[in-house]
Amino acid sequence: MWAWLYGINVLVAMILVVPLFNYIETSFGQSMALERSVNDFNFSLITDFIREYDGGLQLFIQLVLSLLIFYFMISIFLMGGILDVLVRNPHQYSAGTFLNAAVQYFWRYTRLTLYFLIGHVVILLVFWNLFSSQGLNPLKIESDHALIARVKQIFPLYLGVATTVMLMSDYAKVYVYRMNRSLITIPLINSFKHVFRHFLNAAGLYLVNMVVMAFFFLLYFLARKNLDTRPGHLLLLAFLLSQLYLLIRIGLKLVNLRSIALLSGMWSKDTSDGRV
């Protein structure tokens, strides 16, 4: 499944390769600017490119946005199948079962995603209002230090709340799968209840998973930083490194969901009737 998810990511991205190659080749493929800007941030060449080849660039950006949305929808679709594997933990993996689960849960996970997206937007607005409540008009601000102090107070708080919401959305996914109801309200409420009841456990697990993710990110960042891709042959190495990191990210995402499935499974065993 892991390789499967990675393969889909690669396939979707590959759709862009040919148009991108043609676009670069025809727009400034014969220009020495290509060579000059590829290894260094060249502001003039970048801004000239954006200005002079705007038509093609807009098309390309639209294509990228379409693919991002497409991939996002595919990821929602796959969530049912992923959780089917991770929660049931079958001895043998079956693509048919995977796809059945994906189809069965698609609409539920679409709604769930929508609810949480709305939740994130609301939280963002609340914190923005909190930040701007004392005014953002510079003429009304006593000092720029006050502004920074406000950022320092509010941003970590926002980060904490947003992360908690993400944590809850991961548990909600598992509960939606486990309870298998066409209306997701009850699984959602149950997941919230359980997360709050066992918040320290849930947060601790999430923290561990995030620390592992951050660790791999740091490793990738350091490796990438020290890899000079100017000599042509190292380009392939850099590409492989980024693919490895992507593979690890997808793997860690699955590990996170699996660990949540296990933990929440333990909570349900603790309850008298075994219900989730």
């Binding site: 991205a13 390769v17 991108l20 060579e35 060249n42 995603t113 601000i141 590409f239």
Partner: protein, 665 residues
Amino acid sequence: MDGNKNIDLLSCFTFLLFAFQITGLHGQLSPRIANYTMEIRLDTAQKTLTASTVMSWKNISDQPVSELQMHMYYNAFRSSRSTFMEESIWIRGFLNAALQDDCGWSWSEITHFEDASGHILTDSLEYIQPDDGNDNDKTVLRIGLAEPVLPGQTATYRFDWEARIPKSMVRTGYNREYYFMAQWFPKLGVYEPAGMRYAKVDQWNCHQYHSTGEYYSDFGVYDVSITVPEGFVVGASGVLQERREDRGESTWRFVAEDVIDFTWATSPHFIENKYKWKDIDITLLTYPGHEHFKERYFNAIGNAFEYLHAHVGPYPYPVLTVVDPPIHGIFTGGMEYPMLVSSLSFCFFPEGFKAPETLVTHELIHQYFMQMVASNEQEEAWMDEGVTSYYEARIMDHYGGADRSQVKWLGMKFGNGEYNRYEFLNSPNPKIAGNDRKSWEFKYGGYGTIAYNKVAMALKTLEGLIGQEVFDDMMKTYFERWKFRHPCGRDLIEVANEVVTKHYGHTFGDSIHWFFDQFIYGTEACDYAVASVTNRKMLHSAGFVNDTENCLPLDLNNSKEGYESTVVVHRLGEAWLPVEILVKFNDGSSVLEQWDGKARAFDFKYVSEKRIVSAEVDPFRKNNMDCNFLNNSFIVSQKKNSIRKYIYQIITGIQHAMETMTILI
């Protein structure tokens, strides 16, 4: 009664002072045409100024002058219907809040005006609107004189005036306990005799106060005593002569000689930081929490002085005061007045973001272009803003690196010159106007990009064309010839013609007018491109080469040793200028071609054993007016590796972006 006695004593003193100043007994640099002695009292509770002024003015024309014209800048903020406010659409969002909360409007009124003979002229005061006829604009005051000022005569006047200070207005005003008093007092316009600049007849040049373009005034001596509440720190144009404390107030007296304006700032929160560059005493006035910018400011100031001394001329004044306003004084940042400039910094600016350095460098350069070389910013903004922006880029790029002097932060970097080019070319319409109009005539936008950025780019291009040494000779000549005078655009171009011809003869034509016509006053774009590069194997001659009888066969397999190579260059824009083309061959050799750049297309042919590998128009980036650098070069064998690297970067970026998005599921 007491007030009259004070005025009499003041007048005796100032008459003597003027006699001393105007006869030039001590190192006079300028003609000292308009001189002011002012006693100012700041009322921080009422936000008002009360003042008495003694002013002398010399008639330099050969005709008697029967009226004076004065700027009443603070009346620009008298109501929403002044010309300034009508034109300030872009900033109203911010200003409205300040105006509504505290009635931040302002005014300036002369309450008493008399001449040296005792004629009271107060009744003759009349507001006029020479630019737009807007009756609601009261920024220009005409004073009918009882006795005309004769040619060569210096007349003295005394007047009392009051002003309410605007809140948080552009360039000036107060907010909380911060006061930046710029363009604040009733000030004479410039009387231009026929033949001076563009004047066809003797006339006052005294424009209304507009939202763009700042000021134009005559040189003189300012002796200003400012009374503020005790504990307020004052910084001002000029040299501090004395400071007296009396009954909860302190009076600071400054004298500024050979300047065109006087500005001051005060706040009880100012921290004074001192620095000395050669003989110049520099004071940085900053708010608490901004002290860490001290070193950055002083480094930038030292660099700018060093560069300007070497490449333009010496700074003749003994002091410079730099005001770093608090955030609530943001609209007073980035201003230039004689011996006093304002910059701007925020405590969160990282080291790699050079806005404070850029601003202070820019405003310092204005000490030369507009303060000493006192062109008319309202009529020809490019002469000071454009020239200043050019030197700003030159200085910043020289000390900070042409590719990083402006920003070097989070993997992104660009130089000041690069940013100028970006601002100009990426503006909504780089062809919107030429610099052939007054500042307020940029009705549909483009004032900043055309008067500042475009001119900076044009002058950099001129520097590339004639070489930095000749360019410096030109600007040094211009500075020496026109300092403490009022040049117009024509005067700068005349100097350019003279110096370029001296060095190059007629290489660039009979004059270099064509350059200024196209790139300063014109609107056309400039774009050169290498359209194609071909290398064709040479063939033996075929066909009826020698006569009409014998047809020599075409043998494609039997070619000569060698190539016929061609580079075709196109002029895509309307504007032209001489350009260089660097052609490189496969044996490592290269040739630098010269082209006058006038034709729409041109080719360079080579017949030899070597092939062309690349061709590049303007390889040394002399032509900064070229609007597209991407088409300037042509490489015969495409670098597939570079394309691959782009694709790798973009594709992996998109892959990770896709994966990152899934955290929202």
